[in-house]
Point group: D3
Chain length 225, copies 6
């Protein structure tokens, strides 16, 4: 069993953090490798960044398709998920989709913790894409004054507001770069806090083990008659 | 890692089939045990059957809570899922919820294969409960004339109609008793076919490995202040 | 015309209050009797409480089915409503469903007044079950600091906030135990305030008079071919 | 207790039929009077017909408001319901709204039997207005070839198709002019068949008895500050 | 190309303002005329006002149908839009529908600026009618204390709150009487601000140029077989 | 006034057809130019095709932004619409979004005519993205046996079925390559048939004339603080 995590950006530090989180979950029982996307922007913040990352992501998947059993896109915006699902028969899992659908199994409604105000509508658009609006409590970002604070502290504040004011029962980390904050937040806030990297591992490893991939019935089949 | 599968009915044959499917997925890498529910009806077909199974299911979970790391309800109607989520801090996964949410990650829309016409509205009510109506292609059962046919044959016929007429891209087996038909149907129909037992294993094992259970923030916390 | 109100809990005081409210509405023009559920918990606060009340509720309905023309479940969570609809051909009405559907005929949106924060998500799940989310202004409970206050006072405060902040135009009492507060709140707040007991009486008496009960077409027919 | 039924058209024969249905339900226990609308078209078939009926309907309500306790609009399109709710503090009930909301309490989904193809989209727009689309099985009209057939026969055929093909569990008569067909259809089809006249009586009589009318909180208050 | 704007009220001052806005958009390149509705109330504030305006609006359209190529209803509540669509084959455009649908193309979600609290639910009902609820950020009116303020100032305050608190990205002027405030608000708030008059011109002129009108397939065809 | 139509593919024949349709609408009263996308695939049929077209589309817009007043993406899948909205302050209009939103103003529900079965789910995903599912009658493609037929004939057959069976009242051409078939289909089928090219012209020209572009409040602002 080998899972490839595609980090859609080209930041080696984030790739390292993702690899760490994946290893903690895999516990050496199956193999998981995280790779940065060649030619991608340093971070994925805009629609244009996603477009720029696409060729590298497609390349990474094609080069590694034979060797790996499942693929993960490690950006909570699930950039280029549809195209990667289309070009492979093996499981391709976005950390946004996986984390939010698993969140919906653990409590009444979930909130997504977002890095800043800008990504709130984009995240809402993603929630809508996956038909999850009715199980969403809110997408919340730190107040402008808090943006420069320590990550852990400012996101605990965001999570606490989501629980109290929006009645969230589960929290989802809204960015691959937040990986590792799940357990500290969970300890502080006393509700499940989900790291998309881990959630996607769960689904990708499970699907690969079960022998399943994206349906080629119609939508994701480029060669459909 | 130990997962307990609660078969809400008291049919030992079904318990055995579920155990087999679970073992095939676990491959000996983690432990999984399926138990029948004491005092439950032989099969769960009506709302009253679900009510009758409740005390035994609650009992099973309580007796085994310390020993196991996660729990699965092996009835596609997810009978008594809310109450089991409420009484435990550990993950409790319904095969209906798990299979349909995973199905939504593998293709445009999924269809549920149902045993007969009677359970179609009940299944639709479940789909609504989980806010999945927009990703449902259909719930389909064999035509009355086909009800006495061979299981594999009649469900292949149902699945083929769902793919062609309802444009389903993924199929979900709508009853724990259909376990084992996933691969034969998949081979015949060429789309992913999901057995809820396996899907719930994926989620339960993953959540337990990740150290997560049902949120006790509010809805599923019986001792909420 | 005889209506049986099933109080799903075993608190005689609540049974008495419900009987009073029912009598005020019936004005002696038809017969209505409220009975406590044998073997039920004192109050219904959790999913497990609902499960525990089920056998007694089923028993009550079966013993009285021949004698009565319609049945009401006097718990605003409509516990075990599906199973009672299933086992009887006569009308079975939940006070939650009746009150919220009638509320939707009296104004733009309604709010449900809930006893405490814990039951807000459960109530929202019920609202979703009945497809009423779009006509719901909010589910509101007293602030933590107000929980020990006089019932009438604290619920007037809740209702006033629902009207002003959530733009509710109609209020629904979210618990059978609030029976009798409808008119005092209505006087104070100047919007319709609905007691589910009365609303269910309206529907149950009307359906019985019209000769209608739950459809046995499929979902609620335990003997469906 | 006195209920006024406003027949929005000027057909005396239909007024007589509505009066009969209302009397059968009231059984002499409360007073109910049906009046034709002065100046209205003979039948209400188009949006313009509805507009033409408005002044007469407003006049009827205003002249009779002091004397009656509740008002019913006896056209299944609920023409001018919003304006009548606005101008009165007493209950005003549309037979479309009442019948479809009560239908939703009696089974999984309901179908509306419509006179002809033309009114299907209009009826769907009404269903949408009341947020009932998720509990609607279908709106169905006789096939073109059947339009000249006997009412009872052709609507039984429509109802049977709705039950079998659209999986309706409850049927609603989609026109005040179908009053009286409820019991014959119910006998033939074995599911609840609802006449909106009767359903509106249930709600109007119940609300008047309970002392409730349209909320004047905002939407239906012409004098809102 | 000649467009007729029907001002559903009888206020000549408002008719003049609407004519001005229309002329600014048309730039003399096509002809546009705004007429007050004979017999209509001075302003349209209630459902009854809408009903009273109907005969005059129908008359205006019928008298001018041969001469003009398209029609606009210049009231943001789109009063009597369905009936005017029904009686003409030419394009009939409501300023509410046009402005809100165009707003949905310019940003994530839009807010409607309403004159006062009373019209918030009515506007929400309109938003629901057009299936736009998911792209609505909010309907907002000035606080009670601000109602007597200068129009421009108080609506800038409303718009700023919609942008900041409801995360609106586009604003829609919720009343024909606000015409002319679009550019001042846009300058102050730095988001697109839409005047329904202009939006409806865009659609009406475009449809007429394209040779399209309301479909006579079924719903809006009074003579449907 | 100058509008640039970006044909996301590199087929000069299709660019010519689009230019013709645009010219017919513009009637020489404003300038419109259609350009093929350099480096794009010959046709856009898959998600990967869309990704491959992106750099050329972004380049085209950037090179022409100063000179043109509005931009149109001439592919009914609206490929890369979000990114083009993001990088420009001027109006950017997708022919999918424009045609379907205008269709919703002309009748009860619309159907989209699709080239083949493969694109049905993709089109449904687009409909969902724009929150238009409730006004969609269906997405329909020619039956497999008809795929080789004459375009006009086979799409008339599809449209007729959509009108009769799905109760569509308006038709939308689901591919830029169908441009020019609008009037022949409309003549044959007697309902409005919309060419997205023309619809997008209407919106783009109107917005440019009105001085409006994509909101830079948050979602489409790459430089958001």
């Amino acid at each position: 069993m080998k899972i490839l995590i595609i980090n859609p950006n080209s930041d080696p530090e984030m790739t390292r953090l993702i690899q760490d989180a994946a290893d903690r979950y895999a516990k050496g029982e199956f193999k998981v490798v995280c790779k940065s996307t060649p030619g991608a922007p340093k971070f994925i913040e805009t629609y244009e960044d996603g477009v720029k990352a696409a060729p590298g992501m497609i390349g990474l998947l094609r080069e590694n398709e034979a060797e790996y059993d499942g693929f993960i896109i490690a950006c909570h915006a699930d950039v280029n998920l549809d195209v990667l699902k289309e070009i492979s028969d093996k499981p391709v899992v976005g950390i946004g989709e996986a984390s939010m659908k698993i969140a919906s199994m653990l409590g009444h409604r979930f909130s997504v913790i977002s890095e800043n105000d800008h990504s709130i509508p984009n995240k809402e658009a993603l929630v809508h894409k996956y038909h999850l609006r009715n199980v969403l409590a809110s997408v919340r970002a730190p107040a402008e004054d808090d943006l420069d604070g320590e990550d852990k502290d400012k996101y605990i504040k965001v999570g606490a507001a989501a629980i109290k004011e929006d009645k969230a029962e589960v929290l989802v980390l809204g960015c691959a770069g937040m990986t590792g904050l799940d357990k500290p937040l969970q300890e502080a806030l006393n509700v499940p806090v989900l790291d998309g990297i881990v959630c996607a591992m769960m689904i990708a490893e499970g699907l690969a083990r079960y022998g399943l991939g994206t349906s080629k019935a119609r939508r994701y089949n480029p060669d459909y008659p």
